[in-house]
Every structure is written in structure tokens, then in C-alpha cells.
Subunit: 350 residues, 4 copies
């Protein structure tokens, strides 16, 4: 932590700040310039509390945190990639993993058709919402437990693993009975009670970035789950909210590469929510493979124009099949790059 | 709802869209320009489902919703202001209501000092968090039930009503035992399970706007609570997330005036989170009174530099007292304007 | 400047950074924590060049600038307020100054009616665009020199001073012949060639904040004008671009208060562009007075529904007159507060 | 254009709006719902003026424009891609074009080393700023004409074409003497005087998207240049300003794909400004190729740690060479896809 004093801070004011910091158990090195005094703080203690306390003092200009606020999820904690095995598929490993399916589970026929279609095209994990967070109370809220049962049927029929959303800590155990991966929606990324409960649950978690959450906040939310006992977290970039209106959200694709530098957790991309437009999904999916995401989560519906939700951004089964074909050469390049990375790692003696 | 077709849409494609809309029970009027066809949709039906369905059809350029998606919270539903009586204080009426207190309940001494201080200065409602949503799992998470009990003590000692946050649907009944107003934090504004539970609970709700939520989304979240049975909702503007870094958030003060046009619910302003800086709180509070907010919620701490959270944006008791004094002439102008509004309303024969 | 090294930076890497900084003439104090090294940089030199150079070095985590990048416009440079006299009116002094008029000068009749109307209501300065920046090349681009001549006529008839936009450095001298204040539009806030030319010109400048410019960038643009010789700069908050769509822009009203802390330059508020809606202009204007702006610039048109541009956000003459009346008690409070500030300053012996 | 009336609009108010629209030469079709009246407007006229006029009328809820506001740059105007030949290189054709070089031209030695290095690695166009827009008046402002002369030397030595920025309409002819492509910087995207002057100039223009400009505004700025006579416009996505701070800007990579749907103009990506971090440039460049950009513009410096500007985001010559190698298989896939597109087009009889 580095504290900058205001221009006219007196010796007494500087000493007050120094004493305050020392009360939190830190050591202090101050740098006195011609104009301004900077105070370097080192040691181990309750950083946030100390920062907030100092920020509240008069004559303090600003306080900058240097160390990362997360530990377990950081690259510095683990050099290799976290690999998460789900129903025989390895996420974060040498396979580019595609999750696909409808926004909502609507009926047995719909989810079965979707599951068979996406499995045929090469997806390994079926997505589908049984509990649906909807902006309006008057919109379809999901089939709930009935939807979970239909997902289980689809799994039995196709062998696909299931990823589905859980909206409240109260439902974590229920959803975990049916799902292989529990999804946290963008609007719940900072539902800390839910995150803690997911920490106690053994199941892998797919954590979607909030609409206006920073990359660091996403990592802090992953840290919540990890710190409460569950290291199996998959991060998901799904677009952030900006002023642009041609697309539903703005895909922050560089977040994928930045996260690969900052964390060992797998990172996938959701091209459907990021664009909001079916026609843009294949192009963004290619970019996602090229930038090094570990996988995709794509909305696919047997009849998008009949979908209860997100029809405009859903591919139909033919379009999804075509996209998966087109992605193949990009996925091959992705695999070569992963192999090269593995060899480099092996070559380094422990 | 207005549907615009793409430039080269064929007659058959236009007819397909028309039939789709009619399946949802709507009537259709189409406007054929020289270049493009627009389809006007009128009637009553499931608007969202119909819109999403049509958006998913090829050759549809875009779909614009005209009617507001909320009903109960809309000005068109109720012409006058919703007034909410809390512990003898009327919110949304002819009194400008100030809620004040620390970010977190930290100890009996702290909350008692805070309560007495803010009561003396003229606040009517005590704020203080017992359950704290924190970005980091390593930060103080609140005293929980113990904190609620301390709030009850402070109420007993000072007569102040209590507003405090509830973070999960599971805790609604617990918190409602202690609090006069249940607060929904910005990060939970779209925690729909929590909103539904609050709808079933009788207690007034203080609903904070999400960091990147639109005004319409805020109204939709209020509609959730209202549609589930609880009409006592107070809206709170607390700053939105933008690119600016001099302040913690950007106070969208015009949202207060815009909400006054769109809804009959009371609207208050949180100058502490909106600015993140103590020195800016009084200025924004004046502006909040002048623009016609129904009240303020202000962070006040007996010793901000010792605060466990939000010290930099908390006023101390002397500063709060001074601010309340300075606000008085503005509050008088506010009251004159409310009186004038009431007289105008009374003058209109029912 | 504070430099944080990456976690595993070696001694040699730290020394490289130190040498690099010393080459720019700075002194160095390093703080070695258990985990990370921080390097404090003090002295006088080319800060930006030094920062950019260091940021480019491997093993540097990040670099934080502490000193403000502006000098002349800073509060630390001048304690009192800059007061700018324009045609008998003092901006930044003890008078709350209202500038008003149409978006564009459209015809002699229109600008004369507007000028007489706003003068009657108490405005002191007439606004009106002769050169119009328009998003579309097919929209009305202004009457240009003819418009300037009409503004001169309106000034002769009413005694109002004139503020009007200059769009390119080439026109600075031309516009300065007619206008008392030269306006820089939001889209030109970082047109540095124009800013330099305005620095050489004696006329006061009204500098509007860019749609997505930070407060610091606004101050840097003012610094351009000042550093090139013209200290008469008036800053203008006119709303920033965010995700919200109910209003045309988001009024960052706290920027007014923050600027009052950071700079001695006068700051005015444009409630018309900030809201984009006529009905919200009076409420935001009240808030602007209350928060301590030095004045307002308001769009007023004799017949808004016939306006060539910005009709939806323009008040008509009756509405403007009514708003000016309603502002009076707020302006009285504003004046009391200015007087108190002056007395405090006078009381301090030089 | 579709006009929605407010809920309680009277017959007379609706008729007023209708007459107003007809005065602009349009025809009207109104759709009367149970709740609200919508008015469809068709025909040819001054759309913007008509919209603004109607928006200003009381009882009008909102006005939605249906037709695109741009013509010449639209896909509907030209089905194929605009191809721009520059010094033997075809932009928008079957070659993926890389522009590279330093942020600023600093010295003969520097620009010569950069030019030779990027040419060797496969770049076809040399970038380098002679006129530099800098946030601070105290930062290096470029070598100006001297810099242009050095670029000419570098072109003579390497055969690379030159792209460099022009900051004011006054310099268009000067810069056009030296440069093959005139660059408009992000901060000048809506400098309409400059755009008009570039329209009159024959040289191809590289138009960078503004920091907070929408995709439609970017197209409108291109329309300015085209409407004034110059159809050779290359668009450039360089990241937009958001709340995220890990990267300097947020690369809106989907804008590339969206622009490919909306316009026939070539679109390139600037991975250097979009990320602000050297380490992220190669990953984003791969994504740019994969999503279908026509090329890249990359900052490369022989010694980034000695660069006067943008060192942290500049690759050195070895890094650039390595990146170009790694891009090759992606560029091959890109070329296959362009060929397939060409064949499809040829197959359609004219």
C-alpha cells in the first residue's frame, strides 16, 4: 500500500497517518519529495480495513493498493491451469469444450431436441435454465424443479453433462442434485451469500461476470467460492454494459486473455449474451477460440422464433452444426498452442 | 410494439411476421413506406414473449416496445404520491426525511453514539449494516444477528426507526423482526428471489439502484416487490458506475427527477456512495433537496478514521450536524414546493 | 510517482528500473515488503515520459502518478476564484450568471425574439450556434458568418453578451470578432490545435466537457488554453455518456463540486444537453444552483417545435421565464453562501 | 419514423402531430391501440429536422427512426467490399494488411530501424505520428513537418506506404503530400470540419472510432467524408472507454463483425490502443484475424522502454516478428474464407 499525502500536509499530520498504519501492524517507509510525501506500507495485516481507515484521514490525497486482493485464484498461487473434470470432459485442459442449449427449458420435446442436436454437433455439456432471472415479474420464470427433471432426462438420453443456473443459496443443494455444473448468473455475481454456499458445495461452478463488474471483482467473487472450500470455478465472460446499442452487450474479449495472465482458473466465453444477435455469434466464437478461451457457452434452440426467451440470440440446430464445423480449424490451432504450452512446462525442471 | 422489417423483406416475410404476432393475440397495422415496412402491434398479450419471438425472425430489423413494462409502480397507475409511514415518520409526504448512521454496526458503543448523534441533528431513521456485502471474502462481513440486536437497542434509546440490509431471501423474516425498513443493496437489485420474498413481507423496502442498472430496470425491480404484494417501496439513487474516477460512482441526480415523472413511489438519494468522498457529501445533499428527492440516506460515523468500512465517505457527528443546519433553508423551499403541489392537487375536483 | 514491481522481480530488474528513473533526473526511495518492492520517485522532470518509459519495462506491475498533471488551473496555483468580466457581467464572482438562447441561429426573427425573451427573464448572455457540429452531414450545419452577424444584431438590440461555438482553429479570429465568449463543443474538448489557438486569442473561452472525458482530462484541456496564454476559461459540465437511455446524457452534477475543489476556474452547468428533455431542465437547474455552479447555459427557443435542432430539450420563452422566477430563492441562498466565502477569505490576513 | 403518443393524448393533439409531419412532406399512417396511438411516417424528407420538431411537441412519448441515417457507406448502397489500393497493397481485398510502427516519429534512427524491422516481418504500411494529440500540453507534441520528412525517407528506404495522423483541416494538404493514408485520431472522429476537408482530398483516410462513439456515429463520420467526395475510407476499431481498468480501453471486437454487416468499407483493428498492454497485443491480434478484420495497426518500437509515448503497449521488433509468425496460420484461414466469399459472389449472376 502506498499513501500519498496532500500538498500542504504538516509533519504532525504525516506522523498521525504513520501511527494509524502501525496500529494495524504494518511497517512504514516514507519518501519525501520536494512537493509531496509518499508513505510506503509493508507487512501483513488487514489491508482493506487499514486502507479505509487511512483514506478517511484528513490530508491524505489517495491510497493505492499494490498487492492483489485475491490469493487462491491468482496465477501466483498456482502456476499451471486448474483442470475440472465434468462427466468425462476436462475443462481447462487440452480439449476446447462447448456448452450449448436453450436459454430456458420449456418442454420435454424442446430440451430433448436441443440436447440431441447439440450433442450431434459436438457439444459436451447441455445448458438450459430451470430457474430464470427475468427483468419483469410478468415474464416466464422457468419450469423450476420440473425443468431440472427434464434436464436429467436429457442427460440420460444423450450423455451430455448439465449446466444450469441456481438463483439463491436456498436452492444450491436442490440444483446440485441434478446439475454437473452450477451456474451463477451475471446479476448474481456479487450475491455473496450464494457464493459462500457454493463454496461449501462440491459441484463445479460456472461464474458469469456481472454486467458492470471489473475483472478484479470477478476474481474476488471466484475467491469467495474458493475461500469457502470449492476450488472448481469456471469463469465466464459474457459481455459488459456500455453505451453501444448495436449489440446487446459489449464482449470484453481481451478479458479472456487478461484473466489467463491473472488466474489459473478456466475461462469460457458466452457469445450469445455478449452480442444478443444470432448473426454475430459465429464470428465472436471464432475470436474466442483464437484468443485462447477454454470453451464456449452458446444458446441453441430447435425453433428460435418459438423460444420463450432469448430467441434473437439463439442459433437453430442447423446453424449451430455449421458453426461447429467452421470452428474446427481454429480449434486445431488452439490445440497446437495448448500442446506447445504443456511441453514448455514439462521442460522446466521442478 | 413497432416492428421494422429489413430493406428487402418480401411480402411473404412480412406476412409471416404478421401471422406470428396474431398468434399472440395482437392486432396489426402495417405502414408501408417507399423503402421499408413498419408493423404496428396493438392489443393485450404477453408482450415480452411476443417481442422475443419476433426479434428472432429473419428479415426483422428491430422491435421497439412502446408501452411501459411496469404497471403498479407507474404514474399512470396512481396520480398522487405513495406515502409510507414508518415509526411516525411519513416518507413521500410533506417532510424531508433523513436517514443516517454508519456503514456497519461495529459495536454497541459505536452504534449508540451514532444513533444519538444523528437523532440530535434531526435524522429520523438510523441506518447501519448488520449483514454486509463485501467485495472480498477477507473483509468484515457484519455482526449479523448481534448487529440487529444492537440496532434494536439504539432504536429503544433514541426512538429512531431502523433501516438495515437483508442479503438473502432466507433472512427476510429475521431482519423484518428488527428493522422498520428492509434495504436491498445495489448488488442485489436484480436478486429476483429476494425481491419476491420481500413482496410477501409486509415491511417497507428501500430498493437501491444497481451500479449499472437503468432507471427502467429499477422500476421493474420495484414492480417485482409490488406485484408480489408489497406496495411500500422506497427507491434510492446511489450513483452509477461510469469511467470517471475522481468520484467512487457518478450520482445520476436527474434520475430523481425522471423517477418523479415516471412513478408515484418515494425516491431518496444516497450522497455517500454516490461520491465516495466526505467533502462532496454536503454539496450533493443540497442538490438532492433542490431537485426534489423525498429524503437522503447518509453515512455518519462517530470516528470515521476508525470505521471498519466506508470511512472515507462518512461524515463525523459534527460534520453531519453542520450539514443538517446548512440544509435547512433548502428544506424550507422544498416544503413550500410540496405544499404548492398539494394545493394544486386538491384544487382539481375528483 | 510510485512504481510497483511484479512479485518475482529480481534485484537486477529493480536496479534497472532505478537507473532508468535516475536518467530522467529523479531521486528514488524504495520500499521493500515481504512480497513486493515499491519504488517511490521524487524530484522534478518530464513525468509523462518517465512514466511511459518505466511502464514499458518488464517486471513493472504498475505505475501511479501522484502529483496532479496540471498546474495553472489548479487550486494549489491560485487560492481565490478566477473571475471573468464579460460585457459588464462577472462570471465566477458574486452573481449567478445565466446564458440562454437557441441551439442554432436560424433567422433574424428567431434570434431577436429569443434574445429579447431571455434578456427580459434575466439572462445576461445570449447563446446561439452559427457553426453547428452535427452527427450527420445531411443535417443543418449553421448559418456560419451570417449567423454571427445576426448575433451581433441581437447584442446591439438587447445588450446581451454573446457566446457561440468555434469549430476549428482556422475560425478563431473570425468568431472572436463577433463573440464575447468562444465556446468549445464537447466533441472538440480534445481538439488540441483549437485549444492552442484559443490560448493565443484574448477572448474568454467556454470549454465544454467531452462526452466521455474525465474531470482530469477537462482540466488538462483548460491547462492547454492557459499554458498558451489565455487564463480566461469557463468550464462547463454538460452530461456524460453512460448506459442510461431515459435521459440523453447523464448529468455528472458532482463534477461541479469536485471541480470547485480542484480548480479556481468558474464552472457552469448545461441542463439542456445533460437531460435532453425539456421537462427535466428546471429541476436540474435548481440542483445546479444548489451545488454551487457559477451559472447555467440553457437552450431556449421562441418555438421549440419549429426548432431546426434540439427542440425537445429547449424551453420556450414562457417556460424559461417561469424557471427563472422559481430559481430566485435558490439564487439568493447561493449568494449568501458566496458572501460567507468572501468574508472568510478577507478575514485571513495576506 | 414511428411516433408514439402519450397515454392520454387527445384527438386534437394527435392531429397537431400529424399536421406537423405533413408539413415536412411526409405521409402518415396511424395505428390506434386500446391504450396508445402510434403514428407511422413514410416518404422522403429531412428526417432529422422532422424528428426533432415532433419530439419537441407535448404529448409525444417518443420517436423512433427506422431508416439508417447513412447512405453511401451502407451495405445497402454497395453489396461488395470497397477495396482501396495503397502503394501496391490492396486493403479490403484478399490480403490481410498489417500496418505497424512507433507511436511517434522520434528521430531518423528510430523510424528507420522501426521501418526496416516491420517491413522484414511482413508489414506493408508504416505508421508513425508526426503531429501528436497529447492530453497534456507539457508532453511531446511531435516533430511535425520534420517528422513527415523522416517518414518519407523511411518509405524511400523500405517501400512501405505511410499512414500518419492529421489533426486539423489546415494541415490536410501538407500531410497529404507525405502520407499515403491520412489518419483521423479517436479524439477527432467528430471533428466535422476536418472530415469535410478530408472529403475534398483524394487520399485514403483511416478513421479511428472515438473513445465513446457508437458504431452508428462512426459510420456517420465516414459518411461525412464520403458525402464530401472521398469514398476511400478505412474504419478502425481501437477500443472504447468503459469502467474496466485492467486494460487501457475495452476492445469492442464484435464491432468489427457488426460493421461488416452494416458497411462495405474495410475495417481494421488496433490491438495496441485497445489493450494498452504489450503482453495482450498478440492474443487480441489473433482474435482480430479470426473475426474477419481487414487488417491490423500495431505499435512497434525498436526500444519501447525509450519510447517518448505509448511504450507500455509497443512491441519491440523481435516480439513483432514473433507475433507475425504466429498469426500466419490464422491469416491462411482468413484467406480461405475470403476466397469462399468471392466465389459465392461470382456465382451470383450480375
Amino acid at each position: 500500500m502506498i499513501i500519498s499525502m496532500k500538498l500542504h500536509a504538516t509533519r504532525e499530520e504525516i506522523d498521525q497517518v504513520t501511527r494509524q498504519v502501525q496500529e494495524f501492524g504494518y511497517k512504514v517507509h516514507s519518501s519525501e519529495g520536494e512537493e509531496r510525501v509518499g508513505i510506503g506500507v509493508v507487512g501483513v495485516g488487514d489491508v482493506t480495513a487499514c486502507m479505509e481507515s487511512v483514506e478517511a484521514m484528513p490530508q491524505v490525497e489517495n491510497v493505492v493498493r499494490i498487492s492483489a486482493p485475491y490469493k487462491f485464484v491468482s496465477r501466483e498461487f498456482r502456476a499451471g491451469r486448474t483442470q475440472i473434470r465434468v462427466n468425462g470432459t476436462l475443462i481447462g485442459g487440452d480439449e476446447f469444450v462447448v456448452m450449448a442449449g436453450p436459454c430456458s427449458v420449456e418442454s420435454e420435446k424442446q430440451i430433448m431436441q436441443a440436447a440431441e442436436g447439440v450433442a450431434r454437433a459436438g457439444a459436451k455439456i447441455l445448458r438450459g435454465g430451470a430457474f430464470k432471472p427475468r427483468t419483469s415479474p410478468y415474464d416466464f420464470q422457468g419450469l423450476e424443479t420440473e425443468g431440472l427433471k427434464l434436464l436429467r432426462k436429457a442427460k440420460a438420453a444423450t450423455g451430455l453433462a448439465i449446466v444450469t443456473e441456481v438463483m439463491t443459496d436456498r436452492d444450491v443443494n436442490l440444483v446440485a442434485e441434478y446439475a454437473d455444473i452450477l451456474q451463477v448468473g451475471a446479476r448474481n455475481m456479487q450475491n455473496f451469500v450464494l457464493l459462500k454456499e457454493l463454496g461449501k458445495c462440491g459441484r463445479p461452478v460456472l461464474l458469469k461476470r456481472g454486467l458492470s463488474s471489473t475483472i478484479k471483482e470477478l476474481l474476488m467473487s471466484a475467491e469467495y467460492i474458493t475461500a469457502h472450500g470449492n476450488a472448481n470455478v469456471i469463469l465466464c465472460e459474457r459481455g459488459i454494459r456500455t453505451f453501444e446499442t448495436v449489440t446487446r452487450n459489449t464482449a470484453d474479449i481481451v478479458a479472456v486473455a487478461a484473466l489467463n495472465e491473472l488466474t489459473h482458473l478456466p475461462v469460457i466465453l458466452d457469445p450469445s449474451h455478449a452480442t444478443g444477435k444470432r448473426s454475430l455469434v459465429p464470428a465472436l466464437s471464432r475470436a474466442g477460440v483464437a484468443i485462447g478461451a477454454d470453451g464456449l457457452i452458446v444458446e441453441v434452440h430447435p425453433a428460435p422464433e418459438k423460444a420463450i426467451s432469448d430467441g434473437a440470440q439463439s442459433l437453430d440446430l442447423v446453424q449451430f452444426q455449421k458453426m461447429m464445423e467452421e470452428l474446427k480449424p481454429y480449434v486445431r490451432l488452439w490445440q497446437e498452442s495448448r500442446m506447445a504450452e504443456n511441453e514448455k512446462r514439462v521442460a522446466v525442471p521442478a
